[in-house]
């Protein structure tokens, strides 16, 4: 990966079964790390219906995975494109990606900061 001035945080909400593909794609790109969590999404994609002793009820939320990737400023486009590509199924509910500016960052182990901390 390139070495720029500052660090950006890319956040993606994706379909859970795409996680492995996205992770492998990011590895291939040389991204050093990813942080992942299980979330529930609500959006255009409908939830599902369950039945409980004759009563139907709707579960509005759909399980999604949230990924956070810190990257060097210079790599943002490449990384975002790759996520957009690998996480896409073309069906409703594929999710979102967004980028936030990071003011400063550190690696806990060494105390390094800025892009060196990646």
């Amino acid at each position: 990966m390139t070495k720029g001035e500052s660090v950006k945080l890319i956040v993606g909400i994706i379909k859970p079964f795409k996680l492995d593909d996205v992770k492998e794609a990011l590895k291939d790109l040389g991204v050093q790390g990813v942080t992942v969590s299980a979330v529930q999404g609500f959006g255009r994609q409908r939830g599902h219906t369950e039945v409980y002793r004759g009563s139907e009820y709707t579960i509005d939320f759909v399980p999604k995975v949230r990924i956070e990737v810190m990257v060097d400023d210079a790599d943002v486009t490449r990384v975002v494109d790759r996520i957009l590509e690998t996480a896409r199924t073309g069906k409703i509910g594929d999710g979102k990606v967004w980028v936030l500016a990071v003011e400063e960052m550190w690696r806990i182990r060494t105390g390094e900061s800025g892009p060196d901390a990646l």
Binding site: E50, V51, Y52, R53, G54, S55, E56, Y57, T58
Partner: protein
């Protein structure tokens, strides 16, 4: 009569099996509640194993089986503290084997009620309810039917507790549900089962234990026990298929919870009949119970009472069905101590007695249980229902200072 080791072995095993049903029931119900109320549900059941057992050897057994066969209303204090029972026999088994076996019924009957009152009754109130109910409701009803009391003397049949256990518990659940009121959010907010595998495990344990419940009620390891065993087996199966069929037709899906519930409905309905019917009767009884109990769930939505886990639809309705269907399907050729029902040329006599027994037990249990609940609600400082905050937080934390699941981070 001399003690028969085979009969004794069977009744002891049956007692163990029925005792195991109460933890099974707690899991069956526990899987259906929300995780924050799981322990409270387990506890309401386990505490029946504690309270009723001690009461039983002190006085309960005597209240039920004192003056057995008197055609009367209640036992006496002849056997208080198990006086004079050691090393005696009842039929071909030791008296204490009989005491243990009957005790398991006394334990599980109030435990059945917990499904109705789930998620909102104070633990202390439940404890006192069990103590009182055991003495004031279970003891007389069991005397009437199991100990040769007045209903038995009239000719009502109940092989293993259709009235004493299921109608009785179901009828007691109703006033409690009405007095406690609805769970916050019911019925508009869905309260799905938090762990169906627990419920299925509970179903397996219940089915397993029910063999002891019904076939053990023969009090001997003989042909009647075998008949009751097979009937139990078949009715559970037919109940499952009956429920699934109706569920599938009405809602499009055959659910796992439906399979479990249907099996239990079949088991409930066969309980009074187990040693008195034969051939394919258990298929009919089980299948009818499975279908009807499923449909009976609609009642709570129609009438707006929050019978949380459908004790009324499964135990009250199933118990009534079984008790009354026995008036049709009873077959004296299967068991000479039984009688012939309508379909076997016995006329409507038995049927009438069955209806009477159901009505009497229902009314008595409903009224006295309601009265007990009313008194407790007055007498106890905080009443019988938990506070709104406690209900929102969950009973596990607020009643027992515990959390069911703590799959930690590290």
């Amino acid at each position: 009569m001399k003690i028969n080791a085979g009969d004794t072995a069977w009744v002891l095993v049956a007692a163990a099996l029925v005792l195991f049903m109460t933890p099974g029931l707690s899991l069956f119900y526990g899987g259906m509640v929300r995780a924050k109320n799981l322990l409270a549900m387990l506890m309401q059941n386990f505490v029946c194993m504690g309270i009723v057992t001690v009461l039983w050897v002190v006085v309960g057994y005597s209240l039920v089986f004192g003056r057995a066969g008197d055609g009367g209303l209640l036992g006496d204090f002849a056997f208080v503290g198990m006086k004079g029972l050691a090393n005696t026999s009842i039929g071909t088994i030791p008296a204490l084997a009989f005491v243990s076996f009957q005790l398991t019924f006394a334990v599980i009957t109030p435990a059945l009620i917990t499904g109705a009152i789930a998620d909102r009754m104070r633990f202390g109130a439940w404890v006192w309810f069990v103590v009182t109910w055991s003495l004031l409701v279970y003891s007389p009803v069991a005397h009437w039917v199991f100990a040769g009391g007045w209903l038995a003397a009239r000719g009502a049949l109940d092989f293993a507790g259709g009235t004493v256990v299921h109608v009785n518990a179901g009828a007691a659940a109703l006033p409690l549900v009405l007095m406690l009121g609805r769970r916050k959010g019911w019925p508009h907010e869905p309260m799905p089962p938090h762990s169906l595998p627990l419920t299925l495990l509970g179903t397996g344990i219940l089915w397993f234990g029910w063999f002891g419940f019904n076939a053990g009620s023969a009090l001997a390891a003989n042909g009647i026990a075998a008949q009751a065993f097979l009937n139990t087996f078949v009715a559970a199966a037919a109940g499952m298929l009956g429920w699934l069929a109706v569920e599938r037709i009405k809602g499009g899906h055959a659910t796992t919870l439906g399979a479990a519930s249907g099996a239990v409905a079949g088991l409930v309905a066969i309980t009074p009949c187990a040693g008195y019917v034969g051939g394919l009767a258990p298929v009919a009884i089980g299948a009818i119970a499975g279908g009807v109990c499923f449909l009976a769930i609609a009642l709570k939505f129609k009438y707006g009472y929050d019978d949380a886990l459908d004790v009324v639809a499964v135990h009250l309705v199933g118990g009534i069905l079984g008790s009354i269907l026995l008036g049709l399907f009873a077959d004296a050729s299967v068991n000479p101590r039984g009688a012939d029902g309508v379909l076997y040329g016995g006329g409507w006599g038995l049927f009438g007695e069955q209806v009477l027994a159901v009505v009497v037990v229902f009314v008595f249990s409903f009224v006295v249980s309601g009265a007990i609940a009313l008194v407790l609600d007055r007498v106890m400082r905080d009443g019988i229902r938990v506070s709104d905050d406690d209900e929102a937080i969950g009973l596990d934390l607020t009643m027992h200072s515990e959390t069911a699941y703590a799959h930690e981070r590290t």
